[in-house]
Amino acid sequence: MALLQRVTETHRQTVDFILDGQPCQALIGDTVLTAVLTQRNRLRIEEFNGTPRAGFCLMGACQDCWMRTEDGARLRACSTFITPGMRLVSV
């Protein structure tokens, strides 16, 4: 089961995006963090020990939730909204 469960506000329009090469769906208004953690247990692999990370504070303070896009850009998942066609990498 994914780390985040939707419990309300599920009427929103869907957004298609790519996660680790696979087509996925999120909802308009989802942060990247919500879009990914409703499907996966991680956002990235930590650089030093190779362990998975999934964010911590969700308010842009702890800087734990960085994610990569396929083109190599890095974005902070808790404060970036998912957009159609976004291509994200969690490995």
Binding site: L4, H11, I28
Partner: protein, 461 residues
């Protein structure tokens, strides 16, 4: 002369909004810079467009306050220069460096600056705290309020502070399976704190309501616990704690954790505000008096960003600090209003003392000395507790910035926001001293990571 005033407010939570409204009422047009995309701060954070839950559902008992503040901000928006989604990443003597939502950098001058930078959860690392599924209490609340999602579905709520019971209650009401509330404070602490807490009868009543509700709905409430570890590889599978003299565990999918709040003081630091160790907050804070004046003549401080007192105090302090700003800029101000604001702020301060007694930081049995050497303290760069102790011991380090230079603690992406308090506790424990005696991590720009494209952008001002 008054027309040449260019006041800037950083933060659009309760303190920043009240401050802005006060300046607008005096005929000024402040710039309001806020990192969030919508005003309200963390406590009255508004969901993105397209979300439809009513405010009563989002903010519970606080929905009327939230609504009033949101409406106030809407009303003054035409009279302010509002910069949402904008990071203040550096502060100089009379300018701020900004990054706009589109990533462009610019510089913003000010004649007067009012900082209302808010707070984040206070954290103490413990075994397994890096496991996906361990989040702060604030994070648990944001997931629900801002995204309509919950951690879990089986969640353990651990730590201490008023937020612990509130978020557990909100989660249980939203359908989460709250496997328990694990309070590091003891019931006896709360009894001892009662006299102070009576200064805030309303808050006390709400707090008791959450506890009673949780108990009535069969949620196990544990007091005086010590978190032992989060179990699980790759994701949370259980939570283990020490309570009533024995080690116990429970299955769960997530742990929401926090030890009260800590102020975001980086900008005050970069500006050169004088800091002092505050015993109540157990933190170094920029000095401010009841009027919100800092040690610098043109810098004012309001709200939880300069010491934790909660949202009601933040509203009062925002207005009070704005009046101080106006007074110092030569405006006439309403003395009776000032006296009223200060009386109310003092009353909340007494309640706040009570809260600290009710939810004390678990330093005695869970402080720096108790942390294992192999525990990763810095989630940014994987610095361990042991490497700090070794530097302190081998190299005779007695001050936190020296420890930072030698071990990199506080040098990662978060600049020590998460690990700073624990690093201080560990060093102090090594030296057999109190945390306030080993100094504080100096703030450095950028306050948060800055994309290289932002600062290297051709068109940036």
């Amino acid at each position: 002369m008054m027309n040449s005033l260019s006041p800037v407010i950083v933060g659009a939570g309760p303190a920043g909004i009240r401050a802005a409204a006060t300046l607008v009422a005096a005929g000024l047009k402040p710039v309001v810079v806020d990192e969030a995309i919508k005003a309200g701060g963390q406590i009255y954070r508004q969901p993105p467009d397209g979300f439809t839950r009513p405010k009563s559902s989002l903010y519970g008992f606080e929905s009327r306050k939230a609504d009033r503040l949101h409406r106030l901000f809407e009303a003054i928006q035409p009279q302010i220069d509002y910069r949402p989604g904008t990071l203040v990443w550096n502060a100089g003597a009379n300018h701020l460096d900004l990054m706009a939502p589109d990533g462009t950098a610019s510089s913003l001058g000010f004649s007067h600056l009012l900082l209302a930078t808010g707070a984040t959860d206070r954290i103490q690392p413990f075994a397994g705290w890096l496991t996906p599924g361990v989040f702060t209490l604030g994070a648990a609340q944001i997931a629900l309020k801002f995204q309509g999602s919950i951690l879990g579905p089986r969640v353990a709520f651990a730590g201490t502070g008023p937020l612990l019971y509130l978020v557990a209650y909100q989660y249980a009401k939203a359908g989460a399976d709250v496997v328990g509330v694990f309070d590091t404070a003891r019931f006896a602490d709360k009894l001892a704190a009662l006299p102070g807490l009576l200064h805030g009868v309303g808050h006390l009543a709400k707090g008791m309501y959450y506890v009673a509700w949780l108990r009535a709905h069969g949620v196990p409430l544990h007091g005086g616990i010590v978190p032992l570890r989060v179990e699980g590889e790759g994701r949370v599978q259980g939570f283990a704690w020490q309570g009533s003299g024995r080690a116990r565990r429970v299955d769960c999918d997530a742990v929401a954790f926090g030890l009260g709040l800590r102020s975001e003081t980086q900008l005050a630091d970069l500006l050169g505000c004088r800091f002092a160790y505050d015993d109540l907050n157990r933190a170094w804070l920029p000095e401010r008096n009841l009027s919100g004046r800092s040690s610098l003549p043109h810098v004012f401080l309001a709200g939880d960003g300069a010491g934790i007192a909660g949202a009601d105090a933040a509203e009062l302090a925002g207005e009070r600090a704005a009046l101080a700003l106006l007074e110092d800029a030569g405006h006439l101000v309403d003395r009776r209003r000032i006296a009223l604001l200060e009386r109310r702020l003092q009353r909340i301060a007494k309640f706040r003392h009570g809260l600290e007694r009710a939810f004390p930081l678990p330093l005695a049995d869970w402080g720096g000395a108790a942390l294992a050497d192999d525990l990763v303290l810095c989630r940014c760069e994987a610095i361990t507790v042991g490497s700090l102790r070794q530097a302190a011991c081998d190299l005779g380090v007695t001050e936190l910035n020296r420890l930072k230079a030698l071990t990199r603690i506080g040098m990662g992406r978060c600049q020590g926001r998460i690990c700073g308090a624990a690093a201080s506790a560990i060093l102090a424990a090594e030296l057999g001293q109190q945390p306030g005696t080993v100094g504080r991590l100096r703030g450095q720009a950028p306050v948060k990571p800055l994309p290289v494209v932002t600062v290297s952008h051709e068109d940036a001002a």
